[in-house]
């Protein structure tokens, strides 16, 4: 009897001790971190206390220049805020394969990172599940005076969910020397562009370096046409309607027209067009084997690094999508970040992002060389970046953010897959018609929609 009682007592004691131990641990954490918002700054100022803060940033900026840019902004912010002792935890994944899967896995297990890179429109689940703070009333974002497109790119269903940092755009990069040798100037109409291709080909040079080994390149070659025409036609809900099945690709004439236009310049494809990735295509372009390359602003840094020390000169023009001069520079917010309201250091994270979109922007662009949304560019940025920024500033652009919703990830993958297949058919001579391409794409879209039920 006695011994039984003793054991029971011992058990209780052990349990109590464990609870105390656990309890003290769990009460410790909130006391240092989730201090009441109102009196925290006052208290720290008064006592000169330094608050330990950890900020976890999930991102997919694999390029070293952008990572360095992130480090620079973080350092600048930390310098401005001596009241925080910040530990930065930058978690990086490759976007095409790992980023979203890993972010979701982390969230599913209960992790609460402070900052998550990405466009909220592309990640509606994060918004729905409450992992993304509603920033519609954020004074700093509203004070930036950004055009509707820039805000649209970080919004979903009319609410702002992200901090937009900079933008990207794409078009034709051309070899200045080849153009001048052949007496060519930047084409103003599509016919001029085709004529230029012919002239170049006649001179024994490949007109185009293609990078269809990367999914995005078929996409950007078509976007210029589709976005510009769709926005001009007022079809701002194009992508939402295609995703819900309310509309079909065949309902919009510009899809077939766009493919037809594209097919005309696809007759000049090199053997390596389908396998080259961006890097390999850049090699072809910078070595003078091809005169032009359809390319995006995100790789200007890589291009500059590749030609450093050589006398290679390149120029840029927006693809003239027709002979009526309807072409516009396409713009899409590039780096953009969502903040998690459930995160331990949500307040500091918001402060940091507010800093990044304002004063901190210069630290970012000085290192990353990216053009900021407000049109400002670092002095050390290449001329082309300055040109792009000035065109964006002029407002004569087609902005992805002006669409009500972007394609989600499955539709994006399919869209790109079928465009790449379309390009492939011109490399092997089976020459798909625009209708065939759209039919195959629509069939896949219908499958996606059927699975949503």
């Amino acid at each position: 009897m006695k011994s039984k009682k003793f054991v029971a007592l011992l058990l209780v004691l052990v349990m109590a001790l464990t609870m105390v131990a656990c309890g003290s641990k769990s009460t410790e954490t909130p006391s240092t971190t989730a201090a009441p918002k109102a009196d925290a700054p006052a208290a720290t100022e008064a006592k000169g206390e330094v608050k330990d803060v950890q900020i976890t940033v999930f991102h997919y900026m694999v390029q070293t220049t952008k990572q360095a840019g992130l480090d620079a902004v973080e350092a600048a912010f930390a310098a401005e805020h001596p009241e925080y002792n910040i530990t930065w935890d930058n978690v990086m994944y490759n976007q095409g394969t790992d980023y979203f899967p890993q972010l979701q896995t982390a969230l599913a297990s209960g992790d609460q990172p402070e900052i998550m890179m990405g466009n909220p429109g592309l990640y509606p689940d994060l918004v729905e599940q409450g992992y993304v703070a509603d920033l519609t009333d954020n004074a700093v974002i509203n004070g930036l005076g950004l055009p509707s497109g820039d805000l649209g790119d970080v919004s979903a269903d009319g609410r702002i969910y992200g901090f937009p940092i900079d933008f990207k755009t794409w078009g034709v990069f051309y070899n200045k020397k080849i153009f001048s040798d052949l007496g060519l100037s930047e084409p103003k109409t599509y016919t001029e562009l085709l004529n230029a291709c012919q002239t170049i080909a006649d001179a024994g040079i490949d007109p185009w370096a293609h990078a269809f080994g990367d999914a995005v390149f078929g996409d950007i070659e078509m976007r210029n046409y589709i976005w510009t025409k769709a926005l001009a036609a007022g079809d701002n809900d194009l992508f939402s309607k295609l995703m819900s099945g309310e509309a079909k690709l065949a309902d919009y004439p510009y899809f077939a027209e766009g493919l037809e236009t594209w097919a005309k310049r696809l007759q000049w494809m090199r053997d390596d067009a389908m396998v080259n990735d961006q890097n390999a295509a850049l090699e072809v372009f910078t070595s003078g084997q091809a005169a032009m390359m359809y390319f995006g602003s995100w790789g200007i840094g890589d291009l500059e690094a590749m030609i450093a020390g050589s006398d290679f000169e390149y120029g840029f023009f927006v693809e003239p999508i027709d002979d009526e001069g309807s072409a516009k520079l396409n713009v899409q917010v590039d780096q953009c970040f969502m903040v998690n309201p459930n995160a331990e250091n949500y307040d500091v994270a918001v402060q940091f992002m507010e800093y990044w979109v304002t004063e901190g922007g210069s630290s970012w662009s000085a290192v990353s060389l990216m053009p900021l949304l407000n049109g400002s560019v670092a002095d050390n940025a290449p001329d082309i970046v300055k040109t792009l920024a000035s065109i964006k500033g002029s407002g004569n652009i087609a902005h992805y953010g002006d669409f009500t919703a972007p394609f989600n990830s499955q539709f994006t993958t399919d869209w790109r897959t079928y465009l790449t297949a379309f390009a492939e058919s011109y490399s092997n001579g089976s020459n798909q018609s625009p209708e065939e391409c759209l039919k195959a794409m629509q069939a896949k879209f219908d499958q996606n929609i059927a699975e949503n039920g």
Binding site: Q104, T105, D125, G213, D214, D271, Q410, R416, Y418, S427
Partner: protein
């Protein structure tokens, strides 16, 4: 007296048997525990999800919807196509790697400095990561293959991409097959050959009558293993043919559905179906080999 001694003996045997069984289980336990924790339990945990309408894995909302996912996926032609690509890849890869592996094993199984050096070289590809192998080969195809044969890289053509990836896989894994075959060849007792030679068997006859039957366990091991590797093919297309419909494999399909497209229930259902098909397929193949193993 005699009766009870018998009884004692019987009991002793039983105890010994039990003890043997116990030791056997003890031997089995650590491996099984690791396997269960990492593979079996997670796999079983995933099955219930396949009967729900679970969308995003970060959402708590999942309602039971019976066999709906299975029916939808069976009707999904893209899922079927992905399986056909996977199967085609596996067949080319499995046969290619085994034939070449066996050929190299026969060429190189004797112990000599030269054979040793060659073996080492042939095994080198196996030490590379799948992703790296695929990326290096994308350059082999453009820099060597295209230059030599004047043809475009197979990785850029829908009609050839699966074969192109299978070649990469064969290149990488034939050295492994070779090693297993060499180990098998070494295990064949020399007197078997002597006996066959005395019976007047020529080289070819010795190969078909002695070597091949005794290598059956190695065949079983290699063919089924490569079958499994092939059917789970994921890294190669992820690395070099991410956006090519003709290169979509079943594993990629599952990955995209669960993690990329927020259709977790459907993805899990495809995973379960795929696993069932793979198990059946492997059973059929191993059945064939097992039968010859018993005969040998």
């Amino acid at each position: 007296m005699k009766y009870s001694k018998d009884n004692q003996l019987a009991r002793g045997r039983r105890v010994r048997q039990l003890k043997t069984q116990g030791t056997n289980l003890l031997f089995l336990l650590p491996a099984f525990a690791l396997f269960a924790y990492v593979v079996l339990i997670p796999f079983l945990q995933g099955i219930p999800y396949s009967f729900t309408n679970w969308k995003s894995i970060i959402s708590d909302k999942k309602e039971f919807n019976g066999l709906h996912n299975y029916i939808l996926m069976l009707k999904n032609t893209y899922f079927q196509q992905a399986f056909v690509h996977t199967l085609t890849f596996t067949v080319i890869y499995d046969i290619g790697a085994n034939v070449l592996g066996l050929a190299f094993a026969l060429l190189l199984f004797q112990n000599s400095k030269f054979a040793n050096a060659c073996r080492t070289m042939m095994f080198l590809p196996f030490t590379t990561a799948l992703t790296s192998a695929a990326i290096v080969w994308s350059y082999v195809y453009t820099d060597v293959y295209s230059v030599l044969f004047g043809a475009a890289s197979p990785l850029g053509q829908s009609s050839q991409v699966v074969a192109g990836m299978a070649v990469i896989a064969i290149w990488r894994d034939m050295g492994y097959c070779m090693l297993i075959y060499i180990a098998g060849l070494k295990a064949i007792p020399g007197d078997y050959y002597e006996a066959a030679t005395l019976d007047g068997a020529n080289t070819l006859q010795r190969f078909t009558n002695v070597t091949l039957p005794l290598l059956v366990p190695s065949f079983t091991s290699n063919v089924t293993l490569l079958l499994a590797w092939g059917l789970r093919c994921f890294d190669y297309p992820m690395a070099v043919a991410r956006n090519m419909e003709a290169a979509q494999t079943s594993a990629m399909f599952i990955y995209d559905y669960i993690f990329g497209y927020s259709k977790a229930g459907l993805g899990q259902a495809s995973a379960v179906m795929l696993t069932i098909v793979l198990v059946l397929l492997t059973r059929v193949v191993t059945y064939f080999f097992r039968k010859s193993e018993v005969e040998a």
